[in-house]
Protein backbone atom coordinates (compact mmCIF):
# COMPACT_ATOMS: atom_id res chain seq x y z
CA UNK A 1 0.00 0.00 0.00
CA UNK A 2 1.00 3.61 -0.48
CA UNK A 3 2.48 4.85 2.75
CA UNK A 4 0.90 8.08 4.03
CA UNK A 5 2.31 9.95 7.00
CA UNK A 6 0.19 9.35 10.08
CA UNK A 7 -0.61 13.08 10.35
CA UNK A 8 -2.54 12.80 7.07
CA UNK A 9 -4.68 9.96 8.42
CA UNK A 10 -5.66 11.10 11.93
CA UNK A 11 -6.24 14.54 13.49
CA UNK A 12 -4.52 13.82 16.85
CA UNK A 13 -1.17 15.48 17.44
CA UNK A 14 1.60 15.46 20.04
CA UNK A 15 1.49 14.90 22.99
CA UNK A 16 -1.39 12.49 22.41
CA UNK A 17 -0.44 11.05 19.01
CA UNK A 18 -0.47 7.30 19.71
CA UNK A 19 0.23 5.65 16.32
CA UNK A 20 3.52 5.84 14.40
CA UNK A 21 2.39 4.17 11.20
CA UNK A 22 -0.47 2.48 9.42
CA UNK A 23 1.49 -0.52 8.15
CA UNK A 24 -1.06 -2.42 6.07
CA UNK A 25 -4.73 -2.42 5.07
CA UNK A 26 -6.31 -5.49 3.53
CA UNK A 27 -9.99 -6.53 3.35
CA UNK A 28 -11.12 -4.35 6.24
CA UNK A 29 -8.21 -5.37 8.44
CA UNK A 30 -5.57 -2.80 9.35
CA UNK A 31 -2.20 -3.20 11.00
CA UNK A 32 -0.50 -0.37 12.88
CA UNK A 33 2.64 0.16 14.87
CA UNK A 34 3.78 2.33 17.78
CA UNK A 35 7.17 2.41 19.46
CA UNK A 36 6.70 3.40 23.11
CA UNK A 37 8.96 6.39 23.76
CA UNK A 38 10.16 7.45 27.20
CA UNK A 39 8.32 10.78 26.89
CA UNK A 40 5.00 9.16 25.92
CA UNK A 41 2.12 11.01 27.62
CA UNK A 42 0.68 7.72 28.97
CA UNK A 43 3.78 6.36 30.74
CA UNK A 44 3.20 5.64 34.42
CA UNK A 45 5.87 6.33 36.98
CA UNK A 46 6.78 2.60 36.96
CA UNK A 47 7.87 3.03 33.30
CA UNK A 48 4.90 1.09 31.94
CA UNK A 49 2.20 2.32 29.58
CA UNK A 50 -1.10 3.05 31.33
CA UNK A 51 -4.16 1.07 30.21
CA UNK A 52 -5.63 4.36 28.96
CA UNK A 53 -2.67 4.56 26.55
CA UNK A 54 -3.42 1.10 25.17
CA UNK A 55 -7.06 2.07 24.64
CA UNK A 56 -6.09 5.35 22.95
CA UNK A 57 -3.60 3.52 20.72
CA UNK A 58 -6.30 1.06 19.59
CA UNK A 59 -8.80 3.90 19.02
CA UNK A 60 -6.29 5.90 16.95
CA UNK A 61 -5.36 2.74 15.01
CA UNK A 62 -9.03 2.42 14.04
CA UNK A 63 -9.08 6.13 13.26
CA UNK A 64 -6.06 5.69 10.96
CA UNK A 65 -7.96 3.01 9.04
CA UNK A 66 -10.99 5.34 8.78
CA UNK A 67 -8.67 8.13 7.60
CA UNK A 68 -7.08 5.86 5.01
CA UNK A 69 -10.50 4.90 3.63
CA UNK A 70 -11.70 8.53 3.62
CA UNK A 71 -8.62 9.70 1.72
CA UNK A 72 -8.95 6.82 -0.78
CA UNK A 73 -12.51 8.10 -1.29
CA UNK A 74 -11.23 11.61 -2.04
CA UNK A 75 -11.24 13.43 1.33
CA UNK A 76 -8.45 15.94 1.91
CA UNK A 77 -8.66 16.08 5.73
CA UNK A 78 -8.77 13.10 8.08
CA UNK A 79 -12.16 12.62 9.77
CA UNK A 80 -12.45 13.32 13.52
CA UNK A 81 -13.53 10.23 15.44
CA UNK A 82 -14.65 9.88 19.04
CA UNK A 83 -14.76 6.73 21.13
CA UNK A 84 -18.44 6.01 21.80
CA UNK A 85 -18.13 2.75 23.67
CA UNK A 86 -15.48 0.36 24.94
CA UNK A 87 -16.57 -3.22 25.57
CA UNK A 88 -14.76 -6.41 26.61
CA UNK A 89 -11.44 -4.62 27.12
CA UNK A 90 -8.87 -6.90 28.61
CA UNK A 91 -5.35 -5.87 29.62
CA UNK A 92 -2.95 -8.81 30.03
CA UNK A 93 0.14 -6.70 30.59
CA UNK A 94 1.25 -3.11 30.20
CA UNK A 95 4.04 -2.55 27.64
CA UNK A 96 7.19 -0.78 28.73
CA UNK A 97 9.31 2.02 27.26
CA UNK A 98 11.14 0.68 24.19
CA UNK A 99 8.47 -1.91 23.34
CA UNK A 100 6.90 -1.83 19.88
CA UNK A 101 3.13 -2.28 19.79
CA UNK A 102 1.72 -4.18 16.80
CA UNK A 103 -2.02 -3.76 16.49
CA UNK A 104 -4.62 -5.40 14.29
CA UNK A 105 -7.93 -3.61 13.72
CA UNK A 106 -10.87 -5.51 12.24
CA UNK A 107 -13.89 -3.60 11.02
CA UNK A 108 -17.34 -4.74 12.10
CA UNK A 109 -20.69 -3.26 11.21
CA UNK A 110 -21.21 0.44 10.58
CA UNK A 111 -24.58 1.90 11.49
CA UNK A 112 -25.46 5.58 11.19
CA UNK A 113 -21.88 6.83 11.33
CA UNK A 114 -20.97 4.56 14.24
CA UNK A 115 -18.26 2.05 13.34
CA UNK A 116 -17.82 -1.11 15.37
CA UNK A 117 -14.24 -2.39 15.52
CA UNK A 118 -12.21 -4.99 17.33
CA UNK A 119 -8.59 -4.33 18.18
CA UNK A 120 -5.77 -6.46 19.49
CA UNK A 121 -2.35 -5.17 20.49
CA UNK A 122 0.69 -7.42 20.78
CA UNK A 123 4.27 -6.96 21.88
CA UNK A 124 6.76 -9.64 20.80
CA UNK A 125 3.80 -11.81 19.68
CA UNK A 126 2.18 -11.71 23.12
CA UNK A 127 -1.26 -10.10 23.36
CA UNK A 128 -1.06 -7.09 25.68
CA UNK A 129 -4.64 -5.89 25.28
CA UNK A 130 -7.77 -6.49 23.26
CA UNK A 131 -11.10 -4.72 23.02
CA UNK A 132 -14.23 -3.99 21.09
CA UNK A 133 -15.13 -0.37 20.41
CA UNK A 134 -17.76 1.78 18.85
CA UNK A 135 -16.24 4.81 17.17
CA UNK A 136 -18.35 7.77 16.20
CA UNK A 137 -16.98 9.35 13.05
CA UNK A 138 -17.87 13.00 12.60
CA UNK A 139 -18.74 13.75 8.96
Amino acid sequence: MKSESIEKLIPQRSPILMVDELVDVHDGVAKTRLAVAADNFFIDKDGLLAEAGLIEHIAQSASALAGHMAIEAGATEPPVGYIGEIKKFCCNFRPRVGDVLHTTITLGAEVGGIQIITGETSVNNKVAASTQMKIYIQE
Binding site: A52, I55, E56, A59, Y82, K88
Partner: protein, 122 residues
Protein backbone atom coordinates in the same frame (compact mmCIF):
# COMPACT_ATOMS: atom_id res chain seq x y z
CA UNK B 1 0.85 9.46 33.78
CA UNK B 2 -0.72 11.33 36.60
CA UNK B 3 -3.64 13.51 35.57
CA UNK B 4 -4.41 14.99 38.98
CA UNK B 5 -3.25 18.63 39.05
CA UNK B 6 -2.45 18.37 35.34
CA UNK B 7 -5.72 17.53 33.59
CA UNK B 8 -7.99 18.11 36.57
CA UNK B 9 -7.87 19.18 40.20
CA UNK B 10 -10.05 17.90 42.99
CA UNK B 11 -12.03 20.67 44.69
CA UNK B 12 -14.21 18.56 46.98
CA UNK B 13 -14.55 14.96 48.18
CA UNK B 14 -17.28 12.93 49.85
CA UNK B 15 -16.18 9.36 50.57
CA UNK B 16 -17.05 6.31 52.62
CA UNK B 17 -15.34 2.92 52.45
CA UNK B 18 -17.02 1.68 49.25
CA UNK B 19 -18.06 4.81 47.39
CA UNK B 20 -16.96 8.34 46.75
CA UNK B 21 -17.87 11.49 44.86
CA UNK B 22 -15.00 13.70 43.77
CA UNK B 23 -15.82 17.18 42.56
CA UNK B 24 -13.22 18.13 39.96
CA UNK B 25 -12.31 21.18 37.91
CA UNK B 26 -10.88 20.52 34.44
CA UNK B 27 -7.66 22.44 33.75
CA UNK B 28 -8.07 24.01 30.33
CA UNK B 29 -4.36 24.71 29.94
CA UNK B 30 -3.46 20.99 30.13
CA UNK B 31 -0.90 20.03 27.48
CA UNK B 32 -3.19 17.29 26.14
CA UNK B 33 -5.39 19.85 24.35
CA UNK B 34 -2.49 20.88 22.09
CA UNK B 35 -3.02 17.54 20.35
CA UNK B 36 -6.69 16.71 21.01
CA UNK B 37 -7.41 18.53 18.82
CA UNK B 38 -5.33 21.50 17.55
CA UNK B 39 -7.61 24.55 17.87
CA UNK B 40 -10.49 22.38 19.11
CA UNK B 41 -9.97 21.26 22.74
CA UNK B 42 -11.97 18.09 23.50
CA UNK B 43 -11.48 15.91 26.56
CA UNK B 44 -9.99 12.58 25.45
CA UNK B 45 -12.32 9.78 26.61
CA UNK B 46 -9.30 7.85 27.85
CA UNK B 47 -8.32 10.75 30.13
CA UNK B 48 -11.74 10.45 31.76
CA UNK B 49 -11.13 6.71 32.21
CA UNK B 50 -7.76 7.50 33.81
CA UNK B 51 -9.48 10.08 36.06
CA UNK B 52 -11.89 7.36 37.24
CA UNK B 53 -8.93 5.08 37.98
CA UNK B 54 -7.14 7.77 39.98
CA UNK B 55 -10.28 8.45 42.03
CA UNK B 56 -10.70 4.69 42.66
CA UNK B 57 -7.07 4.61 43.85
CA UNK B 58 -7.86 7.33 46.38
CA UNK B 59 -10.83 5.36 47.62
CA UNK B 60 -8.84 2.16 48.28
CA UNK B 61 -5.52 3.91 48.97
CA UNK B 62 -3.68 1.57 46.57
CA UNK B 63 -2.17 1.78 43.09
CA UNK B 64 -4.55 0.07 40.68
CA UNK B 65 -4.47 -1.24 37.12
CA UNK B 66 -7.54 -1.71 34.94
CA UNK B 67 -7.64 -5.43 34.16
CA UNK B 68 -10.95 -5.49 32.29
CA UNK B 69 -13.63 -3.08 31.11
CA UNK B 70 -16.96 -4.82 30.80
CA UNK B 71 -18.61 -1.74 29.31
CA UNK B 72 -17.68 1.91 29.17
CA UNK B 73 -19.98 4.31 27.34
CA UNK B 74 -18.93 7.83 26.42
CA UNK B 75 -22.31 9.43 26.08
CA UNK B 76 -21.52 13.12 25.52
CA UNK B 77 -18.57 15.12 24.25
CA UNK B 78 -16.81 16.80 27.19
CA UNK B 79 -14.64 19.87 26.82
CA UNK B 80 -13.06 22.14 29.44
CA UNK B 81 -15.42 24.94 28.39
CA UNK B 82 -18.63 22.88 28.06
CA UNK B 83 -18.16 21.19 31.45
CA UNK B 84 -15.45 22.97 33.49
CA UNK B 85 -16.63 21.29 36.71
CA UNK B 86 -17.65 17.67 37.05
CA UNK B 87 -18.55 15.04 39.63
CA UNK B 88 -16.68 11.73 39.48
CA UNK B 89 -18.72 9.09 41.29
CA UNK B 90 -17.00 5.78 42.05
CA UNK B 91 -18.39 2.61 43.67
CA UNK B 92 -16.12 -0.27 44.65
CA UNK B 93 -16.82 -3.87 45.61
CA UNK B 94 -13.99 -6.27 46.50
CA UNK B 95 -13.73 -9.43 44.34
CA UNK B 96 -11.37 -12.40 44.50
CA UNK B 97 -9.06 -10.75 41.94
CA UNK B 98 -9.35 -7.13 43.04
CA UNK B 99 -12.23 -4.69 42.81
CA UNK B 100 -15.36 -4.41 40.73
CA UNK B 101 -15.63 -0.72 39.89
CA UNK B 102 -18.65 1.17 38.61
CA UNK B 103 -18.23 4.86 38.01
CA UNK B 104 -19.53 7.86 36.11
CA UNK B 105 -18.54 11.43 35.37
CA UNK B 106 -21.37 13.92 35.12
CA UNK B 107 -22.54 17.46 35.76
CA UNK B 108 -26.11 18.63 36.28
CA UNK B 109 -26.73 18.59 32.52
CA UNK B 110 -25.13 15.42 31.18
CA UNK B 111 -23.45 12.16 32.01
CA UNK B 112 -20.25 12.11 29.97
CA UNK B 113 -19.01 8.62 30.76
CA UNK B 114 -20.14 5.56 32.63
CA UNK B 115 -17.76 2.76 33.42
CA UNK B 116 -18.07 -0.82 34.60
CA UNK B 117 -14.91 -2.87 34.97
CA UNK B 118 -12.37 -4.56 37.20
CA UNK B 119 -9.24 -3.12 38.71
CA UNK B 120 -6.42 -4.91 40.51
CA UNK B 121 -3.90 -3.57 42.94
CA UNK B 122 -0.39 -3.57 41.49
Amino acid sequence: MRLENNYYEITGTRCDTTSGTFHIALLKDCDVYRGHFPGNPVCPGVCNIQTIKECAEKLVDKTLTISTIKLCRLTAVATPTVCPELDVTVNIAPTTAGYAVTASIADDKHTYIDFKGEMMSV
